[in-house]
C-alpha cells in the first residue's frame, strides 16, 4: 500500500515545476478575491469590471475587487516596493490592466508571473500566430506573460454642431488649428493619450515608417523626428492656452469638449463618443472618426505579478475575459463598446451571432470607416518622444 504513495511523492519531487491543469487552477481559485489593478477614470470600465465580478462569482466563486488607479504605474511601483521588502509571496496586486512601457518594465525586471496564456482554455479563440496583434505589445513580444482583453484604436471626436468638416490628417489638423486658434489641444505627453497623439503624427509625418519598429536608440532619433517637431512647433502656439498647459488625460479633454472649451477631443476607443452621449457626457451631435490612412491601434492586456496572492483567481478572470460571450458584452456600446480581441475566424456560428446582434449608433464609426490599423512603434519611441517633448516645451 505504501508503494503508490511513495511513488507519487517521488514523482512530485522529480517534477516540482509540473504545470497545474486548468481544473486544478479553477478549483484553487474558488473563493478567491482577485485584486485587479485597473485605471479607474472610466466609469464604464468600472461598471464592466463589476459586472464581470458578479458573473465570475456565480460561475466560479471568484470575485474581483477593482483597485482603481489614476496611473497604471502605481501598481508597478507597488510590486517593486513589495519586492524591495522581500515579499515574494502573497503580494497585494493580483492582476494589472497593462500594456506598452509598463509591461516592458515589469517583464524586463522579472516581476511577472507566466507564461500563462496558453493554459487558458479560451486562448483558442485568439490569433496567436507569430507577429499577430495579440502576441506583440508595442512591438515587445508578449510570450504568454499577459493576456489580451480589449482592443483600442485611436480616434478623434468632434461636435458636428460646431465643426462642419473635421481635419482628416495631421497636416490638415495644423491648418484647422491655425484657422481656429485655441480650439484644439491634446492631453499631456506624460499621459499615454498625449504621447499616442504625437506617435500618430510621427507615423503620418515620417518618410519611412519601418524605422519606427526598431528601438529608437538604433535609429537616428533626431533625424527621424525632425518633421514631427517642425510640425509641432507650428501647431503649439495655436493650441488652447497657447500650448502652455494641457489637459491631464483624454477624459479631461472629453469634458472640455462637452463644456465647449475645445472643439476636438481624442480617444483610444472608437465607441467612446457613442457611450459618452448615452451617459449624458457629450452632446448628441458628437462624432468619432479615424484619420485618412488609418490610425494607431493596440490591444490592452492583463498581467499577473510574480508574487500575486490570488494567481489562480487572476487566471480564471483572464480566461473569462476571453470568453466570446464576455467579448460580445464588452463590444456593446451601452457597456464598453471596445472591439473584440478574438479572431472572428475561430468563432462558431452562434458565437458570431452575438456580435452581429449588437446595437449601433450614429456616433459609432463602422469598421470600414475606421480604416486600417497602424502598428504601434517600439515603446522606446514613446519614451524618447515624451522625454524630448518635455525637454523642448517644459521650462
Amino acid at each position: 500500500m505504501r508503494l503508490p504513495v511513495l511513488f507519487a511523492m517521488l514523482l512530485a519531487s522529480a517534477f516540482p515545476l509540473r504545470a497545474e491543469t486548468w481544473d486544478e487552477i479553477v478549483s484553487a481559485a474558488r473563493g478567491q478575491t482577485v485584486y485587479w489593478n485597473a485605471w479607474g477614470g472610466d466609469e464604464r470600465t468600472n461598471d464592466f469590471i463589476r459586472w464581470a465580478s458578479e458573473r465570475l462569482e456565480a460561475d466560479y466563486g471568484v470575485t474581483i475587487q477593482q483597485v482603481k488607479l489614476t496611473d497604471t504605474a502605481e501598481a508597478v511601483t507597488r510590486v517593486i516596493a513589495e519586492k524591495a521588502a522581500g515579499q515574494d509571496e502573497g503580494g497585494s496586486v493580483d492582476m494589472i490592466w497593462i500594456n506598452g512601457a509598463n509591461f516592458l518594465s515589469m517583464k524586463e525586471q522579472g516581476l511577472l508571473h507566466g507564461p500563462f496564456v496558453e493554459i487558458l482554455p479560451n486562448a483558442k479563440y485568439l490569433d496567436l500566430s507569430p507577429g499577430s496583434a495579440a502576441t506583440v505589445d508595442f512591438t515587445v513580444p508578449v510570450e504568454g506573460y499577459e493576456s489580451p482583453w480589449r482592443l483600442a484604436k485611436y480616434v478623434l471626436i468632434y461636435d458636428n454642431a460646431r465643426v462642419d468638416q473635421p481635419p482628416m490628417s495631421m497636416a490638415e489638423l495644423l491648418e484647422w488649428s491655425k484657422a481656429n486658434p485655441g480650439r484644439f489641444t491634446h492631453p499631456v505627453v506624460d499621459n499615454f493619450m498625449g504621447s499616442t497623439f504625437l506617435k500618430q503624427a510621427l507615423i503620418e509625418l515620417v518618410p519611412d515608417r519601418d524605422v519606427l519598429q526598431m528601438p529608437a536608440s538604433e535609429a537616428d532619433f533626431d533625424a527621424v523626428t525632425a518633421p514631427l517637431w517642425s510640425w509641432y512647433d507650428e501647431l503649439r502656439p495655436t493650441l488652447w492656452r497657447d500650448g502652455e498647459t494641457f489637459p491631464e488625460n483624454a477624459s479631461v479633454q472629453e469634458q472640455m469638449l462637452n463644456d465647449g472649451v475645445v472643439d476636438i477631443s481624442m480617444a483610444f476607443d472608437p465607441a467612446s463618443a457613442a457611450a459618452a452621449i448615452e451617459k449624458g457626457l457629450l452632446p448628441e451631435t458628437a462624432r468619432a472618426y479615424a484619420l485618412d490612412g488609418g490610425t494607431i491601434g493596440n490591444i490592452s492586456f492583463v498581467a499577473i505579478p510574480y508574487n500575486a496572492a490570488h494567481r489562480e483567481g487572476a487566471m480564471v478572470v483572464a480566461n473569462f475575459l476571453l470568453d466570446p460571450a464576455t467579448q460580445a458584452h464588452a463590444q456593446d456600446i451601452s457597456v464598453l463598446g471596445s472591439f473584440s480581441v478574438l479572431d472572428p475566424t475561430k468563432l462558431s456560428g452562434s458565437e458570431k451571432e452575438a456580435f452581429a446582434a449588437l446595437p449601433t449608433s450614429p456616433a459609432l464609426p463602422t469598421l470600414e470607416e475606421l480604416g486600417p490599423t497602424l502598428i504601434e512603434p517600439h515603446p522606446s519611441w514613446m519614451t524618447k518622444i515624451a522625454e524630448s517633448w518635455a525637454k523642448r516645451y517644459t521650462q
Binding site: 485584486y35 489593478n37 479607474g40 477614470g41 472610466d42 466609469e43 468600472n46 461598471d47 463589476r50 483597485v67 482603481k68 488607479l69 489614476t70 496611473d71 497604471t72 504605474a73 502605481e74 501598481a75 508597478v76 511601483t77 507597488r78 517593486i80 516596493a81 513589495e82 519586492k83 524591495a84 521588502a85 522581500g86 497585494s92 506598452g100 512601457a101 509598463n102 518594465s105 525586471q109 460646431r162 485655441g182 499631456v188 506624460d190 488652447w240 492656452r241 502652455e244 498647459t245 494641457f246 488625460n249 477624459s251 479631461v252 472629453e254 469634458q255 463644456d259 465647449g260 472649451v261 451617459k279 449624458g280 457626457l281 519614451t383 522625454e387 518635455a390 525637454k391 517644459t394 521650462q395
Partner: protein, 569 residues
C-alpha cells in the same frame, strides 16, 4: 498629587508615541534618504551616489517646480495670514468668537480636495461664474481661452489654499485670543488715543501670533507639499514639486524612483528653508512693528484696510460656499452645458447606485475615520492626563514631537514608510491606513483638546480627590464628563482630518482601500463631473455631520446643566 504620580502612564504614552508615530516617520525618512542616495535594492541599486540628485535636477521643469512650490507655498500662507489677521481685526468687537466659529466651522470640516474640486468648477472659464454671466453680459457662446485653473503662475492654487486656510487661521487666532487680556489692553490703549485696529495689530496680535506660530508653520508646510489640491488646481506643465515627485514615484520607468526620492528629500528641505525664511520675516516684521510703536503715532484711519481684509475673508467664505453648492448641484445633474446658468436636466442616478463604488468608499471612510480618531483621542487623553498628574507644563520638545507629522512633508517619508510597512508585513490593508492616518489625526486632536483640558477648573478635581476618588475615578467621573464637549469637538476635528487624508491612504492602503477622498481625486481626472460630485459631496457631508453630532450630543446630554459646556472662557 506628586510628580511621581502617573509616571508609568507617561512612560507608556511616550513609548506609544515614539514607537507608533516617531519611529515610522524616521524609518520612512530613512528609506527615502537611502533611495535618494542611490540605495534601493529592489531595483538592483545598492551603490551610494549623488546620481539621483543629478537626475532630479536634470529632469525637465525641476527648477521651475521648485520655484513654483516656494512661490505658491509662501504666497498662499502670507496672504491667508494677512487676510485672517485683517478679518480678525475687523471682527473684534463686532462678532463674538461663537458667531465666527459657527460661520466658519463648516469650512474646517470640508476636506481640501472637495473644496478644490468644487472651486475648480466655480472659477474656471467654463465654470459657474462664467456660465451665470454668459452670454448676456460677456457675449461668450463658448468659454473664453483664459488661464484660470492650472494657470502657470499657480494663482488658482493659491486661491484654493486660501479658501481653506483663512478660516483655519481665523479660528486658531480666536482660540488664542482668549489667552490674551485683550479687552483690558484695548481699553488702556484706546484711552491713550490709539485707534482700534491699531491696538489690535500692534499690541494684541503680536501676543496672539506667538501662540499660533506653530499652526502657521503647519499651514506653510501643508501649502508647500500638498498634492491633491495641487493636482486639481495647480499648474500642470510643470506642476509644483509635490505633484511632480508623486508623478515620478508612480511613473512607469521605475528608475525614476531614485530621483523622485531625491526630490522628496528636497521637498523636506524646501519646507525647512521656507520656515527659516518665514522666521526671518517674523523678525523683520517685529522690528518694523516695534519702530512703529515707538513713534507713538495715533491713527484712527485703519478701518478701511481691515474692512478690505474682512471683505477678502468674506469672499473666501463665499467662494467656498459656492464650491460646495456647485458640488451638490452637479451630483444631481444629468446635462449642464455651457453657458446655461443651471443644469438643463437633473437626475439622481448617481446617488441611486451606492454599489457603483461610493457606498463602499463612504463605509471605508467612516470606519477608518472613527477608528483613527478613537485611537488618537485615547492617546491624547492619556498624554494630557499624564501631564496633569506630573503637574508639569508641556516641554518644548514634546510640543515639537506632536507637531512633527504636520511639519515634515508627507511625501518625504510616505514612500519609505510604505517600504517599511511592507517589510513589517502590514502594508496594503485597512490597519496600515488607520495607523498612517492616526499619525496626522493625533496632532490635530492634541491641538484642539489641550487648551480646554488645561482650563478645567482644578478645584473640582481637588474636591474629588479630597472625597477619596482615585486618579482613574477622577478622570472618568469628573474630567471626561465635564470635558465632553471639547472632547467631542476635538474628535470631530480628528475625524475631518482623517477623511481628508489622500497620500497616506493611497500609499499605505496599496490603493486597495478606496476612501471618498482617494476616489474623488481619482475621478476628478475623469470626465464625469456628476460622479465626482457625489464623492466630493459625501466627503464634505460626512465630517460636517460628525461636527454637528459633536455639538448636539453634549447640548442634549447637558440640556439641564448650564455649567457643563466645557468652555474654558
Amino acid at each position: 498629587m506628586t510628580r511621581s504620580d502617573g509616571r508609568g502612564l507617561r512612560a507608556t504614552v511616550l513609548a506609544v508615541v515614539l514607537a507608533g508615530l516617531v519611529l515610522p516617520i524616521a524609518a520612512g525618512l530613512w528609506h527615502t534618504v537611502a533611495a535618494a542616495f542611490g540605495h534601493l535594492p529592489a531595483i538592483g541599486k545598492t551603490e551610494w551616489s549623488l546620481e539621483p540628485w543629478r537626475q532630479f535636477l536634470a529632469l525637465p521643469g525641476a527648477w521651475t517646480s521648485v520655484k513654483l512650490t516656494l512661490w505658491t507655498g509662501l504666497a498662499s500662507t502670507a496672504l491667508s495670514l494677512l487676510v485672517a489677521v485683517g478679518a480678525a481685526t475687523w471682527c473684534y468687537g463686532r462678532l463674538g468668537p461663537r458667531a465666527i466659529g459657527r460661520l466658519i466651522a463648516p469650512f474646517l470640516a470640508v476636506p481640501h480636495a472637495a473644496l478644490a474640486i468644487g472651486l475648480a468648477f466655480v472659477i474656471a472659464p467654463s465654470g459657474w461664474i462664467a456660465r451665470s454671466v454668459s452670454p448676456w453680459a460677456t457675449g461668450w457662446s463658448v468659454p473664453p481661452d483664459l488661464a484660470i485653473v492650472h494657470d502657470p503662475l499657480g494663482l488658482s492654487l493659491i486661491l484654493g489654499l486660501m479658501v481653506k486656510e483663512v478660516p483655519f487661521l481665523l479660528l486658531v487666532m480666536l482660540a488664542a485670543m482668549s489667552q490674551v487680556p485683550a479687552a483690558a489692553q484695548m481699553r488702556a490703549c484706546r484711552a491713550l488715543g490709539y485707534g482700534r485696529s491699531q491696538v489690535w495689530l500692534l499690541i494684541v496680535f503680536p501676543q496672539v501670533y506667538v501662540q499660533i506660530r506653530l499652526a502657521v508653520y503647519v499651514v506653510l508646510s501643508f501649502a508647500l507639499s500638498v498634492v491633491d489640491v495641487g493636482l486639481v488646481l495647480g499648474p500642470s506643465n510643470p506642476p509644483v514639486l509635490a505633484v511632480a515627485l508623486t508623478r515620478w514615484f508612480l511613473a512607469p520607468d521605475t528608475k525614476l524612483i531614485l530621483p523622485a526620492s531625491a526630490a522628496a528629500i528636497a521637498q523636506a528641505l524646501i519646507v525647512l528653508f521656507a520656515i527659516l525664511i518665514w522666521r526671518r520675516g517674523e523678525v523683520a516684521v517685529a522690528h518694523l512693528g516695534r519702530a512703529w510703536i515707538c513713534r507713538g503715532t495715533r491713527s484712527q484711519t485703519w478701518t478701511w484696510s481691515s474692512s478690505a481684509a474682512a471683505v477678502s475673508a468674506g469672499c473666501c467664505l463665499a467662494l467656498g460656499m459656492l464650491a460646495l453648492i456647485a458640488l451638490a448641484l452637479w451630483s444631481v445633474t444629468w446635462r449642464w452645458s455651457f453657458p446655461a446658468a443651471l443644469p438643463e436636466m437633473f437626475s439622481v442616478g448617481a446617488w441611486l447606485r451606492p454599489g457603483s463604488g461610493w457606498g463602499r468608499a463612504a463605509l471605508n471612510t467612516a470606519v477608518i475615520g472613527v477608528l483613527a480618531t478613537g485611537l488618537a483621542t485615547v492617546l491624547a487623553v492619556a498624554w494630557l492626563e499624564g501631564e496633569d498628574r506630573a503637574g508639569l507644563p508641556r516641554a518644548r520638545w514634546a510640543e515639537g514631537l506632536i507637531y512633527l507629522p504636520l511639519i515634515v512633508p508627507q511625501v518625504a517619508f510616505l514612500y519609505g514608510l510604505q517600504v517599511a510597512f511592507v517589510w513589517a508585513g502590514i502594508a496594503g490593508g485597512v490597519a496600515a491606513v488607520i495607523w498612517a492616518q492616526t499619525l496626522f489625526v493625533f496632532p490635530y486632536v492634541m491641538l484642539a483638546l489641550s487648551r480646554s483640558w488645561r482650563a478645567l477648573d482644578q478645584r473640582l478635581v481637588s474636591s474629588a480627590a479630597a472625597l477619596g476618588a482615585g486618579p482613574i475615578r477622577r478622570l472618568l467621573a469628573i474630567k471626561l464628563p465635564i470635558l465632553l464637549r471639547p472632547l467631542l469637538t476635538a474628535a470631530a476635528v480628528g475625524f475631518a482630518v482623517s477623511v481628508a487624508q489622500y497620500l497616506p491612504t493611497l500609499f499605505m492602503g496599496a490603493g486597495r482601500v478606496p476612501t471618498l477622498t482617494t476616489e474623488a481625486v481619482t475621478l476628478s481626472s475623469g470626465s464625469d463631473r456628476r460622479v465626482t460630485a457625489v464623492y466630493a459631496t459625501l466627503q464634505s457631508a460626512l465630517p460636517f455631520l460628525v461636527y454637528s453630532a459633536a455639538l448636539a450630543v453634549p447640548a442634549w446630554a447637558f440640556r439641564n446643566r448650564r455649567g457643563l459646556t466645557g468652555d474654558p472662557a
